[in-house]
């Protein structure tokens, strides 16, 4: 397997994948997220989003600050369903 520069570890998305998607016209961070599942894995974008922003800036010339971050959705870390439901339905 040829080594790659990995942007998103969770979903295994490489730099080439991101650049290709940007070339195809996905130039909004949310669009990229939905197209590639970047930031949708267990780390929820902690590792990759700042890299995607830099790649977007480099390729589109858009200032990072003008690119909105994808919305942050709870929970902050993955939590098992059993714990969340723990108030009910347990004997």
């Amino acid at each position: 397997m040829k080594k790659k520069a990995i942007v998103c570890r969770c979903e295994d998305i490489s730099l080439e994948d991101v650049e290709k998607a940007i070339d195809e016209g996905y130039t909004d961070i949310e669009e990229l997220r939905k197209k590639l599942r970047i930031g949708m894995g267990p780390c929820q974008g902690r590792v990759c989003i700042q890299l995607v922003m830099k790649i977007l800036e480099k390729k589109t010339g858009k200032e990072v600050g003008k690119i909105n971050l994808p919305s942050s959705r709870p929970p902050i870390i993955p939590v098992c369903l059993g714990s969340i439901a723990s108030d009910k339905n347990e004997k």
Binding site: E31, L81, G82, I84, A85
Partner: protein, 382 residues
Amino acid sequence: MKSKADVVIIGGGISGCGLAYNLARRGVDVLVFEKNYLTSGATGACGAGIRQQWSTYENAELAIASVKIFEKLSNELGEDIEFRQGGYLVAIHDRKEMKQAIKNVEMQRTLGLQVEILDSEGINDIVPILDVKGMKAIGATFCPTDGHANPFKTTFAYANAAKRFGANIYTHTKVTSIKKDKKRITGVITDKGSVKTEIVVNAAGIWSKDIAEIVGVNTPNIPIRKEIIATERFKPMFEAMVISFKDGIYFSQQKEGQIIGGIPSPEQKPGYKTIPTISFMQHMASTLIRYAPVLKHINLLRHWTGFYDVTPDSRPILGETKNLKGFIHCHGFSGHGFMISPMVSKLLSDFIVDGKTSEVLNNLNIDRFKDKKIEHEMSTVG
């Protein structure tokens, strides 16, 4: 930006992009304005299900026809939309529900839909991880050709194909005004410039009410906040979407392995607030593990809100406004816009290009709310 177009579509969700494709394919010079990015509204928060088992004829008809299109859509658009037909298992909890189910199935079968009624044992043949006792089911209906697809990829595929046929899609472009003379549309003004057109399609989802207000048209839609969860991915265990009209829950395992599902929140109120609620998260988790106890150790990964653009009868508003030529409604999908979008956009494009109308379009016109008696869609979840 272009200064002139045959049709301007407001809204870059599944409805807008689907219609843009169907129009562009037929040679119409079409333009889409999206104030944010493509799929930034309800499409982007969608639960991804595709169901044909409805209680009203119009919804069933639209859904059945849409599935026929979905089956070939990846090929047609040249991009994988991840359509999969794992079926929908609709739980039946009591005799009253059983009665309604039998009635629905009869109607659905007259439309040619393959759908069966299962007893409680039959449920585990379809979804082995369900605890039939825990979900308090006495049976279920099952349609094997129901399923799901990826709403983002479908929208993007429609948009890309539309562009190949010459459509122009402007994202991050907000419609600020719509020009008209006495009885017809004449143009659209955006924050990036204006364009002349005689036809405007309002496919703006929960913002369609504001768009309609610009031209003085009142719509009865209200936005209802809905919440959805997604779990971490795990090995595929079942293919069917499980739903219950009584509990309001729906969930399925996606192609990538995560479970996506929703349920009405105990705090559900109309409005534009997008903050998720803790009560939903707990209600969803406890109901989900009541249905499938083996999921207790599966991690909840994300929890988000979206909106249903809900009409008084939970059916969409489609077609032209009587007193305003060229102003076409394509909204009010009440939570099931994605699954009927292929057929809706085909019907509307037929209407715009050929002037062709149909029973469904006529029945779903905005004027139906003037009648006192409207037929309500019973089969809703989430």
